[in-house]
Symmetry: C2
Subunit: 248 residues, 2 copies
């Protein structure tokens, strides 16, 4: 038995999310079925982040235990060969210590949220960004977001279905920047509450639209009350970019 | 009668190219049908560049004559409303002088060719980039390309079907650069021969793979002989980025 770490890219459109569900195609199920073609034990694939339906990944990380030993590159190619009909690719595979757990060992998760700020319909980023038609003010969004940095009660930005024990989280950074017609929200933390990124982005966009002042945003956050959250941003724009683990 | 200039974005996958053809859906036809819904005259939409099947555009330019007057933004929205089932969007529309001709008035065309240099199958750039699995050496490609700058006979990089009168063209720049796992070829000229960009890129990739030396590339180019061209790069990676016109 040997454990492997997989780095995975996927377009979440058309999937019900990372996690296996009774109804609907999940990323996890597609991966487990591909791995089952290589290993009679039909192993479990455990992921670092349970991305929602429609959310994408550039760098999801998962672990899997296989009966026989594989060179990393060979395992990557073998799994990808069974994913040709999916919008999923293993970009890296390597052997890891048997105590490596993609979810529990993670020390930081990095997400990017992509807004395309234009009137014209999306072509290349259809399903892969949130189109906001009204011009956004980027600097006020960035400034308002800085109140979130550090350890706080994120109840305002926590989905009602969130199963975490505590609403306390430590946000490492949240940067809002413009790149042509795109507005990027880059955010990192050890872990996030359910729909926290989309809730924060949706509320920041209220600031960018000048519907909320920076003080309104701060007050909504400090109220620690879900009813004070702005509209939750759609899943289309969200990408799990990278997961960090302790250096060996 | 008033003339309008349109800036157009499209994903070329699934189209037979810009130009109307007897068989197959073209970008031009989709646009002309959308415009016909606004104007009983069913006007002709003339484009700056005749992109091939599968080739994309971020900034194709076209002109069209309409019976009644339109504010630019209203025309853009009206055409886009009739393009909802297409992978095409008008990103800008504005009135222009009646002697403006998208093709003949153009003074420069800018293309980008995108290679994704990795083993793993493409997810987000499927159909939108050329995946080259073997590692490419970027600097030798950029250096080899510099021999193309200026006015030359581009017969080596000209498709057999090319209908231009002369194989002489003036290349303004060709820059090869790496951006993560992507390799970008940015190239500009007043005009290009048929499949010139894909022919140049395909031959440069031979240099990047170290199958050709820089001297081999130069010799192939200077031979001005189509039989010396390397494999033509697939359409998936090519984007018409921008077309320039004289300042008024």
């Amino acid at each position: 038995m040997a454990r492997y770490r997989l780095t995975i890219e996927y377009d979440g459109e058309g999937y019900c999310g990372w996690q296996r569900q009774a109804n609907g195609a999940s990323i996890q199920q597609a991966l487990e079925e591909a791995v089952a073609r290589l290993d009679p034990g039909a192993p479990h694939v455990g992921g670092a982040g349970r991305t929602d339906a429609g959310v994408h990944a550039r760098g999801q990380v998962a672990h899997v235990d296989l009966a026989r030993e594989w060179a990393g590159w060979r395992l990557r190619e073998a799994i990808n060969a069974h994913l040709v009909d999916e919008q999923i690719a293993v970009v890296e595979a390597s052997p890891v210590a048997e105590d490596f757990d993609a979810r529990r060992s993670a020390v930081a998760r990095h997400y990017r949220y992509v807004v395309v700020n234009r009137r014209a319909p999306l072509v290349f980023e259809r399903g892969r960004a949130w189109r906001v038609k009204t011009p956004l003010r980027v600097e006020p969004m960035h400034e308002a977001a800085q109140v979130l940095i550090g350890r706080h009660d994120f109840s305002t930005f926590r989905d009602a279905q969130c199963q975490a024990n505590s609403p306390l989280r430590t946000l490492d950074y949240l940067r809002v920047s413009a790149e042509g017609e795109r507005v990027l929200f880059d955010v990192g933390a050890r872990s996030f509450l359910h729909r926290q990124v989309r809730s924060m982005v949706g509320s920041l966009v209220e600031v960018g639209l000048e519907k909320w002042s920076g003080a309104d945003f701060r007050a909504a956050f400090e109220a620690a009350d879900r009813r004070r959250c702005g509209p939750v941003a759609p899943p289309d724009g969200l990408y799990l970019m990278r997961v960090d683990y302790p250096e060996k």
